[in-house]
């Protein structure tokens, strides 16, 4: 909890909500007749409406990207290192919008929200949404906010995938795409990890085929396992070694299956706390959105062709110890952008924190980010 708010914080923020009655056509063939969108904004929209930035969140993220909801908050929003006055995404210059994606569990339409057709939570009946669906829905939000073109669409991991999809689908509505720690599509190994996470959730006896709300339970154990697995892939071997090593909690082996090593304790803690504030059906949906993301598939598997019509300029950033979406995956994106002759810059950041590095305060990363953002002159 901050005693006083740091000067480079956006301060106290309040989530906002918009209701949409225009039906949204989804890739799966179904339609969302109406939906709520929860989002936060930071900074001021200028008179020309030209300084708006869209932040896209990753798998377990939400609309609370920066600042604090109350002085009692233990932590600020998930990307507070990069959003705020004088930070890379400088709220003195930009109007920043961060929505909770459809299918989420933090207020936007998703499995936990009420299905108007039944009056009950959607649960497993909420349609499977794709990155393209998200981008389409974010464009509706942009319309509602009077933003015809984003100065930049920015995201890390699954968020970076949305930034790419924006550049491909709405060529006139985005000036810069900043794609951080992302991949042009998931590898078989990535999908395998997601499948394991889904199986952990779906095989929990409390899952009830996704209808657990009606039974007054949550698939706690499965969701916890999914999160533990996720955490292993977010960290690098190096950072795990330096954080935990083989340190024992009680200093000795107990020859049992309770928590003995510090790393076990850490993972269980991460898993348990996650279960309290995240929905299992949403987790399933988010992993599917990741698995399905493949912008090249509409272009004969040619990513360069997918980018051909794009007018945005690109900044791609990767982290050396990220093995979930390695630097080689970012280079695939860069290669396609070079092939299609786009404006692109690419930075490879030395960092031993793994995939999570994109959320952390790493000086070179922030320098690159800040320098690029200053290039975009708002009027």
């Amino acid at each position: 909890m901050p005693e006083t708010l740091p000067p480079d914080s956006v301060g106290l923020v309040t989530p906002q909500s918009l209701h949409f009655d225009t039906p949204l056509q989804l890739d799966c063939g179904r339609t969302l007749p109406q939906y709520d969108f929860v989002y936060e904004t930071y900074g001021e929209l200028n008179a020309a409406h030209s300084n708006a930035i869209l932040i896209c969140h990753a798998l377990s993220g939400d609309h609370h990207a920066a600042g604090y909801h109350s002085m009692a908050d233990r932590k600020p929003g998930w990307w507070d290192t990069c959003i705020g006055p004088g930070k890379p995404i400088d709220t003195n210059r930009y109007f920043v919008v961060c929505p909770n994606n459809l299918g989420g569990c933090k207020g936007s339409a998703g499995p936990t929200s009420t299905n108007p057709a039944t009056g009950k939570p959607y649960g497993p009946d909420f349609p499977i949404v794709t990155v393209k669906d998200w981008v389409r829905s974010q464009a509706m939000l942009a319309d509602a906010l009077g933003i015809s073109q984003w100065a930049a669409v920015i995201g890390g991991s699954l968020g970076g995938m949305q930034a790419m999809q924006w550049a491909i689908d709405y060529v006139d509505r985005i000036r810069h795409a900043i794609v951080i720690a992302a991949a042009p599509r998931l590898s078989a190994q990535n999908i395998a990890f997601n499948e394991l996470a889904r199986q952990a959730i779906m095989s929990d006896p409390d899952f009830h085929s996704g209808h657990y709300y009606e039974h007054g339970v949550i698939p706690r154990h499965g969701l916890m396992l999914a999160r533990m697995l996720g955490h292993i892939t977010y960290l690098s071997d190096d950072v795990m070694r330096s954080k935990f090593g083989r340190e024992l909690r009680e200093g000795k082996l107990n020859f049992g299956f309770d928590v003995e090593f510090q790393v076990e304790s850490y993972l269980r803690h991460q898993g348990l706390s996650f279960v309290e504030h995240f929905d299992a059906n949403t987790y399933l949906l988010m992993t599917k959105a990741l698995d399905y993301f493949d912008p090249a598939i509409d272009f004969n598997n040619d990513l360069a062709a997918a980018f051909q019509q794009a007018k945005a300029e690109f900044l791609v950033i990767s982290f050396t110890s990220d093995w979930r979406f390695s630097t080689a995956r970012s280079r695939e994106i860069v290669k396609a952008l070079l092939e299609s002759g786009k404006h692109v810059s690419y930075a490879k950041v030395n960092a031993d924190q793994g995939h999570d590095a994109f959320l952390l305060s790493i000086p070179y990363y922030l320098d690159v980010f800040t320098s690029y953002m200053k290039r975009e002159v708002t009027t």
């Binding site: 070079l338 092939e339 692109v344 810059s345 690419y346 930075a347």
Partner: protein, 199 residues
Amino acid sequence: MALRPDLDIISGWITPGSRVLDLGCGDGTLLAYLQDNRQVTGYGLEIDDANIVKCLQAGVNVIQTDLDAGLSDFQASTFDYVVMTQTLQAIYYPHKLLDEMLRIGREGIVTFPNFGHLQTRLQLGFGGHMPVSKFLPNEWYDTPNIHLCTVKDFERLCSKQGIHILQRTVVDHTHKTSLGMRLLPNLLGEIALYRFRRK
């Protein structure tokens, strides 16, 4: 601010409106100048963190990469010029990189310190030690320059690789040329600049 004289010479060689790839682009000075004054588009390749930040500040498209890892991300014949200033001597396989430059670009431009310069010859020949000078400031044990060559060596390599030299200029370390340098480039030139293409 005046452009560094060697970069000034190179930019004079580049047709306005071309596509340029700058290998080892440093802080992006050349590309920024070409963008602003010659309507050039292109990219710089650079490995150093501090230089990447400077390129981004200068509004230059820059890709952080190791030239020794090759240029396979670039397709054939996609650039008018592939430029490499003061970097050839620090590359593992200069001959392969020259070929790569001409696979990707219509023409290549390189500059390098001429190891055949009189001062260098005197230091090695009579001093009996590895040369250290204003244009080769590093001691032998702490230098990025692992493939130093002379004007003669470079031209021999070009001939062997089927590379046709279009233009050559040699200058001193203040990037000025003279009648002597024009007559005896390998003896009096400190820095050599070449523009070339495939025969």
